[in-house]
């Protein structure tokens, strides 16, 4: 499994409020691959975000669906640095009026 595969999986996970993938929204901070392990660090727009567990579960499930069986998938929430709109993809920035 490559980093691009993980990105492809995360591209299918939407923030249900925005109707756009967590990847496009710039919520994914880092992807680390080791033998048999996938680690993802992501954030939410707010630490009070009630949907955070839902989105984390969806992200882990999407990666597991693509990963070889038995892969240890760990999706973690981090709050530092805080999310900013500049992290969004060009497509997201266009949809939400930034460009």
């Amino acid at each position: 499994m490559t980093e691009d595969d993980v990105r492809a999986a995360l591209k299918t996970v939407e923030d249900p409020e925005a109707g756009m993938s967590v990847l496009d929204l710039g919520l994914v901070y880092g992807i680390a691959l080791e033998e048999g392990k996938v680690r993802v660090e992501m954030t939410m727009t707010s630490p009070a975000c009630p949907a955070s567990d839902y989105i984390v579960d969806e992200a882990a499930a999407a990666i597991r669906a693509l990963a070889p069986e038995g892969t240890d998938v760990d999706v973690r929430l981090v709050w530092d640095p805080p999310w900013t709109p500049e992290r969004m993809s060009a497509e997201a920035q266009q949809r939400f009026g930034w460009t």
């Binding site: 409020e17 630490p47 009630p50 709050w79 709109p85």
Partner: protein
């Protein structure tokens, strides 16, 4: 995780009796005297209080935060058992823990959004203290919902490009909502202004043009903002008390619950809740029956409101069972 479901179930006991008590106020229906007399505390602090504080505890991820939904749920049970002061005391405790949750979240990421959520928590606490003291709790409860929902919507509107004054306007409105809870007519004006802000700047304006779940959530939100504005107008005019309150509590708050259940329930209970267009049915019944309640006949509309809530629960259970547990 396993304890979250019983907590939610406890909140739903208060919902069932609270709705029955509300109906009994408008039409002949045999319900326990406590449910009739304490409709407001059962709905706001026992049901919504349990659900909202459980949602916040799940977001926070700290076990002590569950003391808030536990106390709110037990508070409702105490009311139903004929122990009003114990119930009100538990509701104060629930709100105090909820304020602490808000403070921890604000410390984690200080911002206008988290400040609004903390102010909402403080308004719930103020309302429950008023309840304990036998004074008017309702304006504070309305401020609780307006600030909590407003804060969450402000957070999501960060996806959108907005001029800086839009945030400053929200800060002013949040301030106005909190402090005008002391003067219900002023609160009505503040709610109208907040509703206008939400209609103008919320992310729902964009997502209503998408499809599936984002569009459904946006429909729930935008319909809710209409009722928030109307409820605010009725409060400002100091007229039609039942219509004003239920425009806010049913039209704004329940619409929000209908919209967010498919997102929040999976987060809180770790279950699958797939979107289906059938969700529009209870939503339509809710808003149509509220229109009947406000403009035509309150008792008939109230039964329609109750039917919409029951229908929503039935549709939700069907959708969850069809996809099964994770």
């Amino acid at each position: 995780m396993a304890y979250r479901f019983p907590l939610l179930a406890l909140g739903f006991v208060s919902l069932a009796f609270g709705v029955a008590g509300g109906l009994a106020r408008l039409s002949p229906l045999a319900v326990p005297a406590t449910a009739l007399a304490l409709h407001g505390p059962l709905m706001v602090s026992a049901f919504f209080g349990t659900v909202i504080s459980l949602e916040r505890a799940a977001a926070l991820g700290r076990p002590w935060a569950l003391a808030a939904p536990l106390a709110a749920g037990l508070g409702g049970a105490a009311l139903l058992l004929g122990l009003p002061m114990a119930g009100f005391g538990l509701m104060v405790l629930a709100a105090a823990v909820f304020v602490l949750c808000g403070a921890v979240i604000m410390r984690r990421q200080p911002s206008l959004e988290t400040a609004a959520l903390l102010a909402g928590a403080a308004a719930w606490l103020a309302g429950n203290v008023m309840l304990l003291e036998g004074r008017a709790a309702v304006p504070w409860w309305i401020a609780f919902f307006a600030l909590t929902i407003g804060g969450e919507r402000l957070e999501l509107s960060r996806y959108l490009r907005r001029p800086p004054w839009v945030r400053r306007a929200f800060a002013f409105l949040a301030f106005a909502v909190f402090f005008s809870a002391l003067v219900p007519q002023a609160l009505g004006v503040a709610l109208m202004a907040l509703a206008a802000w939400l209609v103008a700047f919320d992310l729902a304006r964009v997502t209503i043009r998408q499809d599936r779940l984002p569009r459904y959530v946006a429909a729930c939100l935008l319909a809710g903002y209409f009722w928030l504005g109307l409820g605010g107008a009725l409060m400002a005019l100091a007229t039609a008390y039942d219509a004003a309150l239920h425009a806010v509590f049913v039209g704004f708050v329940f619409s929000m619950v209908f919209g967010h259940a498919p997102v929040i329930l999976p987060a809180v209970l770790r279950i699958r809740y797939p979107y289906h267009p059938l969700l529009y049915l209870p939503l339509a019944v809710l808003h149509a029956s509220l229109a009947v309640r406000v403009f035509v006949a309150a008792p008939l509309g109230a039964w329609g409101n109750a039917a919409a809530i029951a229908l929503f629960i039935a549709v939700s259970i069907c959708l969850i069972l069809v996809k099964g547990r994770k």
